[in-house]
């Protein structure tokens, strides 16, 4: 069970990120989570939105290089140490994490972590077996 992440290639330069968020904002698409990887020359924006398909179409139309990356979302209690269990399960299963980023929601004491691993199925299985909830897009939408 994965959720779709928008992956947008962003050249370094003033206003590039603004353009992305404006394009999405005008279409009333919510940003659930956003993380940026940057190098000296370019950045990669990774975005979870409320309407993935529409966001892809709009950004493509606006001339952005956009792709879809399936990632795992894990629900956590928003309290100290909550992430430890997840990371330990993945480490024990020898699953390498490429990157992760977290977001909290308006729902009390609930946080989500977006995980990018090489093998989503293996990671999801290991996490479930370890008692960690891997959530689908419906739950994230509900959490809003």
């Amino acid at each position: 069970m994965t959720i779709n992440q928008l992956t947008v290639f962003v050249e370094n330069g003033p206003g590039r990120l603004l353009e992305i968020t404006e394009t999405l904002g005008k279409a009333s698409i919510d940003l659930r989570a956003l993380s940026i990887a940057d190098t000296a020359e370019f950045g990669i924006a990774r975005i979870i939105t409320s309407d993935h398909a529409k966001a892809v179409a709009l950004l493509r139309e606006a001339g952005f290089a956009v792709s879809t990356t399936p990632v795992l979302a894990v629900g956590l209690d928003d309290e100290p140490g909550a992430l430890v269990k997840t990371l330990r399960i993945l480490a024990d299963a020898k699953i390498n994490i490429e990157y992760l980023y977290a977001f909290i929601t308006r729902r009390e004491r609930q946080a989500y972590v977006v995980l990018r691993v090489e093998d989503n199925d293996a990671a999801a299985l290991a996490l479930r077996q370890g008692g960690v909830s891997v959530v689908g897009v419906e739950e994230i939408d509900k959490a809003d």
């Binding site: 290639f9 990669i44 990774r46 001339g63 290089a65 792709s67 990018r116």
Partner: protein
């Protein structure tokens, strides 16, 4: 005033014309008899070697262009038995675009004579220590000046390019007096020498710098930084290599070694020969090399020739600094780069052919950037993946061009698509 071969360098015009005509007759006969290509191309114009008696008959001959050489790769234009070939040199580029030049022992001797003349014109003698920092190998720069220095009997340091610290150490320890390299490397060496505080430890008095375009300003800069005289030298692999022409102390253009190369200036559009002093495309006929004859080879270099008397005493025709090209070839750090080669690599690697080449000169060194659009399919979500792509593209470019560009990945469709002719090359160098 010293000359390496005064009988050639200071010959009267009449004597030189007679020699040129005699050599031209010989080389045309040789090419016609031994290379089907020349027999056919002359045949198409209804010519036989008997039609070429003096250099005034030269315009009758058909032109030779670089594509002819590429099509003839590898042995198509070879005019002597393979057993008589003792050396090859080659231009950079892919196999298909490469030009391989062949030399008999006599061809090499004459090439080296031409380079020796350049060293003497720069004030060199057998007492000098000639420091050759041109690349060695297939590139003609190193072997050419190395050979010329041998001919002259100078102590020759076959340094090749790179390892700047070692270059400077040898320069100091062995007392190099004449430096031979590209002007951009000379400028870089000069800066490094000053930066390491060794300016007073070097014995350099002159430099012979070629294989790329450089400005008068850059010349003065190198001269002042190193306290030397900097001389230009011109050549191309097809015509042996460096030493087709060279500068003398007057520094007002390069003397063409006319006993080996007959120069013409033509209108690049019509092919018509233009009178002396006109600006046009430089065409050379190599009259003294036999393995790889070049009859009326179009260099694509734009230039002016003049025959005013020179204070150095040489009577050899002079060519001014190159004023550009009739094709889109770029010379970057001494390497010939055609935009079409870059396009080929991009298409091979799955990129859009919408790209931009940006060339600049920073601290006298050429910078070479290729802006490339990422297609949506190429957008990876990790820096690692995108960097891997970038590295693969740099490696592919390097193998095609012989030098590595800096690759800048940009979003797809972000490079302006102009109406009509696309601006593929932005050359910011002020030469």
């Amino acid at each position: 005033m010293n000359y390496f071969q005064p009988e050639m360098e200071c010959a009267s015009r009449e004597a030189m014309r007679a020699l040129q005509s005699e050599r031209l007759r010989g080389i045309v006969r040789h090419a016609y008899d031994n290379v089907p290509f020349y027999r056919e191309s002359m045949g198409k114009k209804g010519l036989t070697p008997d039609d070429i008696q003096t250099i005034d008959d030269l315009p009758k001959l058909p032109f030779l262009v670089k594509d002819d050489l590429r099509e003839a790769y590898p042995y198509g234009l070879l005019a002597v038995p393979r057993a008589d070939v003792v050396r090859i040199q080659s231009t950079s580029g892919t196999t298909g675009k490469r030009v391989v030049a062949f030399y008999t022992q006599q061809d090499l001797d004459r090439w080296e004579d031409c380079c020796a003349r350049a060293i003497v014109a720069a004030g060199g003698s057998k007492e000098d220590v000639v420091h050759v920092s041109y690349g060695y190998g297939l590139f003609t720069g190193g072997p050419g000046l190395n050979g010329g220095s041998h001919k002259l009997g100078s102590m020759t340091l076959p340094m090749s390019s790179g390892s700047t610290d070692r270059q400077i150490q040898f320069m100091c320890d062995l007392g190099s007096t004449i430096l031979c390299c590209t002007p951009s490397y000379a400028a870089y060496l000069a800066e490094s020498i000053v930066a390491s505080g060794l300016r007073d430890k070097i014995a350099l008095k002159a430099g012979i710098f070629g294989a790329e375009a450089w400005s008068e300003e850059m010349r003065r800069d190198i001269e002042n930084t190193l306290g030397i005289k900097a001389y230009d030298i011109y050549g191309l692999t097809e015509l042996s290599g460096p030493g087709v022409s060279f500068e003398c102390a007057e520094q007002t253009g390069m003397h063409i070694n006319e006993d080996c190369f007959v120069a013409e200036i033509i209108d690049p559009e019509t092919g018509e020969v233009l009178p002396e002093g006109s600006k046009g495309e430089l065409v050379f006929t190599a009259i003294a090399k036999y393995a790889f004859p070049m009859l009326r080879y179009r260099t694509r270099d734009i230039c002016v020739l003049h025959r005013q008397p020179c204070s150095c005493g040489r009577t050899l025709l002079k060519m001014e600094k190159l004023m550009g090209r009739t094709d889109d070839m770029l010379i970057i750090r001494g390497v010939n780069v055609f935009p079409s080669q870059i396009e080929t690599v991009l298409l091979q690697e799955g990129y859009s052919p919408n790209y931009q080449i940006i060339v600049d000169r920073v601290h006298h060194t050429d910078t070479f950037e290729v802006r490339v659009e990422l297609t949506p399919e190429m957008v990876a979500d990790t820096v690692k993946e995108i960097s891997k792509r970038e590295d693969a593209l740099i490696a592919a470019m390097r193998s095609m061009l012989g030098i590595s560009p800096k690759i800048t990945l940009v979003a797809h469709r972000s490079i302006a698509r102009s109406e009509g002719k696309a601006v593929r090359v932005v050359d910011k160098r002020k030469i």
